[in-house]
Symmetry: C2
Subunit: 507 residues, 2 copies
């Protein structure tokens, strides 16, 4: 490594350490911290983000970047060092536009907002949360304003979206979401009225027994207690706190075991991504995953394509029978059908794969209206409920089943939601490719052997960290950009099989 | 507040935030972190300490301190601002002598050392730990060397001791420990051979049932779930992570419930100190307690003077009977005697109050030999075992019951141990004073009402944070310096009552 590269890496490593420390504080706040600790925690997080932002956006970083770039003259544009400089330069250009005071305030408001949201949600009282959301939106607008004239951003929402999927644009999401809606609506229309017996999912099972099942499944998936933790959280999440330290969370419902099981598989999918980042990228900006669409492709692939797939039902059914049903028989086919029941519902994270996309479209639209000032926060619950009625045909009765269900807005994460639906699309594209590369992958999965798929994903996706934007990585792996069709086709195939009906061919 | 004071406070608040963040990372490392996370955590902690140290010891801090001091001309020397400047100036003078590179290395080595110690202890293998201890001692020597010529330090150990009890000196500890030994040895000689029936303490009780008892007792003591947490730890500790966030830990032994119970009461005593610091001192250097002798006086007071006292036996006995003994009768007097059995043993934190002091004296002596280079690490286990034989008459069979039992040296905490025995002395002095101020405090305690004592401690000790050094605060509360006699007299009175014998009057 050249001297300028070493100096750049040393500076970035310190900033990554601050980020890792903030991630520990965040994890703790959402799993362990007693409620009265919230104000002090918000200050500590604000300080960490403030120092990290000031150091990163300082001119010294720019100088080190420039010297590092010069020192790489002639190097392979695809090598770690070259990618590190390119990715970091873009982040630097963005960070420089954001005053440290605003970055600090965003962190403080996010921390306070989450705590307020927890209370508002527990008490089903949107009014408790509204001032914090207003503050977050006001700050998001100030943030967006920093990017006036920034290359490639065509609207306010672009500046937000780019933080969660660098290079992705609002118009592209609109186009993809239009196709998605066109694919989903007829599918839902075809299936939502059909009866599926999913009574087995609603039997009461004590959390401690569910936990044994979840731990067994996670172990198959790649959870390693030496380097991972599983905890409870109101809103499940996964986070990587540095090499060898992956934290995932889930939540438990005694009358609905899929909540914890598939939630844990989902977060474990995220965790495998964090765990699989190449050691040599750690403590650099490439050692965290910038594209949440890619990140979500991993969680959704494990949760839905594997977890709710026909092959894995062979693994799950006997284990559910033994651990949760006192040994009563459960046919894999029965379980497969039950966990793939299509039925509009209130909660995004509990939605089936067909209706899920509509939950995301709804949030994407509302976020744009909020950020552009077309929708005041006071009218948000009403707007939410109207859209749920229109998209899902349901009447929201309580805000905690509606506008208060997700943590994101409380944490200032505006522009994040689209990556969930984009992740579904990417997951289907990767799955199609993996099945070509690993012709017996479904037999492997049916026998409980998940290592083949995991290693394929590690090789093609995980290890690269943030070396490539979503489109670049997809180009390398599947030879093209994000597309809706593979996801639509996957859904048609799978739900057709589950329901025993012929659904439209989307090829 | 004057402008210079405000500027000083703003700078110090940021540094305290970094310290609070490091405390979260430390807590997590010792309660939750998966083992493979250790190296990355060490880096993150090193960076936090490095940045905090660099900011604190920067000349800008000195300038702000000077301007703040000038702005306070004529102010009450006892007001928060004046004390903040005095206490911070002394810390600043010390910090300036320590290069940031060394501060960083101390933090990194402490983090790695703790992880190595955990493994060495679990495997009862000192050799796994030895290189980390050697590193910590080497760094401690470099640290000590920074204070050559620093006012008032007369020997290497003074520089270490001062970090855990500012103003305390090795010669003073030697004098007090000499008196302590003179008081303890005949007491132990008198009592150690007498039979005490403590079979009730060794009944097997599942952890979950013990937990109910512990939670009930902690609630009496002042544990509030809205602002506190109780977790498990290999080596129990307490930490304040900022206002409204107190973390205590304990460990459980199914065949010996006092381990968890009195351990939790001990840590809760620390926690009450952290919880009771005045809000206006938070996010300043006065908002953390510098004197661990004072800190330990609180934990030992609650654990031993209250927890193992005759009055509280009235509260404990029926609860132990109901929760742990399936309702079998337990006389308070029987419990009182059992928990005050004097018997030399291997583990410091399990030692009775009479032999405890000898465990500390032993460590104090070994630490001085280690730091002065008179004892190589390779010979430490042998030296330890010899001293245990000489002081306690016991043969150490396994290093995990000997030199590997305490976390401190692994975390670079050399000079810390004396504060445990000093804390016992201070606790007895405070207790004597509290009984004068609250004549019915024992009746209150016997009825389970611990609020009177807690509030007395909050008023006289806790709220002051680090405003005063140990000697200054004791002067205010008991009218004099640390003394051995009150502790010796307390032990004579209590153990005499427990054993039904006449012990020497130490007045």
């Amino acid at each position: 490594m050249t001297q300028p590269m070493e100096e750049l890496r040393a500076r970035l490593a310190e900033i990554e350490d601050l980020r890792a420390a903030a991630a520990v504080l965040d994890w703790d706040q959402n799993t362990k911290m007693p409620p009265r600790g919230a104000p002090a925690r918000a200050e500590a997080l604000a300080t960490l983000h403030s120092i990290a932002h000031a150091r990163f956006s300082a001119e010294e970083t720019g100088r080190l970047l420039e010297r590092a770039r010069e020192s790489l003259d002639g190097a392979d544009a695809d090598c770690d060092d070259a990618r590190l400089v390119v990715v970091t330069e873009r982040r630097y250009e963005k960070a420089r536009r954001v005053p440290t005071e605003l970055a600090t305030e965003l962190a403080r408001a996010a921390s306070l907002g989450q705590q307020a949201w927890k209370q508002a949600r527990a008490q089903d009282d949107f009014a408790l949360f509204a001032p914090y959301l207003e503050r977050n939106i006001e700050l998001a607008r100030r943030y967006v304003a920093c990017f006036e004239g920034f290359g490639g951003f065509e609207c306010a929402y672009d500046a937000l979206l780019d933080d969660y999927d660098p290079g992705m644009r609002t118009t592209e999401v609109e186009r993809l979401f239009g196709e998605l809606r066109d694919a989903l609506v007829p599918l839902i229309g075809e299936l939502a009225e059909r009866e599926v017996d999913d009574a087995v999912l609603h039997e009461r099972v004590a959390v401690e027994r569910q936990r044994e099942l979840v731990e067994e499944v996670l172990a198959l998936q790649g959870f390693d207690p030496e380097g991972w933790r599983l905890d409870d959280a109101v809103h499940p999440f996964a986070t990587g706190l540095g090499a060898g330290d992956v934290r995932i969370t889930t939540r438990w419902e005694e009358g609905y075991f899929p909540m914890a099981l598939f939630g844990a598989m989902h977060e474990c999918g995220h965790g495998l991504y964090e765990d699989g980042i190449a050691p040599e990228l750690r403590r650099t900006p490439l050692g965290q995953v910038d594209s949440l669409s890619l990140h979500e492709s991993q969680s959704r692939l494990w949760e839905n394509i594997v977890g709710r797939g026909r092959a894995f039902a062979e693994v799950l059914a006997p284990r559910v029978a033994r651990r949760l049903l006192d040994g009563r028989a459960l046919e894999p086919e029965t379980l497969f059908r039950a966990v793939n029941r299509v039925r509009p519902s209130f909660i995004r994270v509990e939605a089936d794969e067909a209706t899920y996309g509509l939950h995301v479209v709804l949030r994407f639209e509302l976020e744009q209206e909020l950020i552009e000032g077309r929708l005041p926060v006071s009218e948000l619950p009403q707007a939410w409920n109207e859209r749920v009625r229109s998209y899902l045909g349901l009447e929201v009765q309580r805000d905690c089943d509606g506008v208060l269900q997700d943590v994101h807005w409380s944490a200032g994460l505006l522009g994040y939601f689209p990556t969930y639906a984009l992740g579904n699309m990417v997951a289907a594209q990767l799955w199609a490719r993996a099945r070509r590369d690993l012709p017996d992958v479904e037999q492997q999965i049916a026998s409980g052997e998940l290592g083949g798929l995991r290693e394929w994903l590690r090789e093609h996706i995980h290890r690269h960290g943030s070396k490539y934007e979503t489109g670049e990585l997809l180009q390398r792996v599947v030879g093209g950009p994000i597309r809706t069709e593979p996801f639509a086709q996957y859904l048609s195939d799978k739900l057709g099989a589950a329901y025993g009906v012929q659904l439209p061919d989307r090829r």
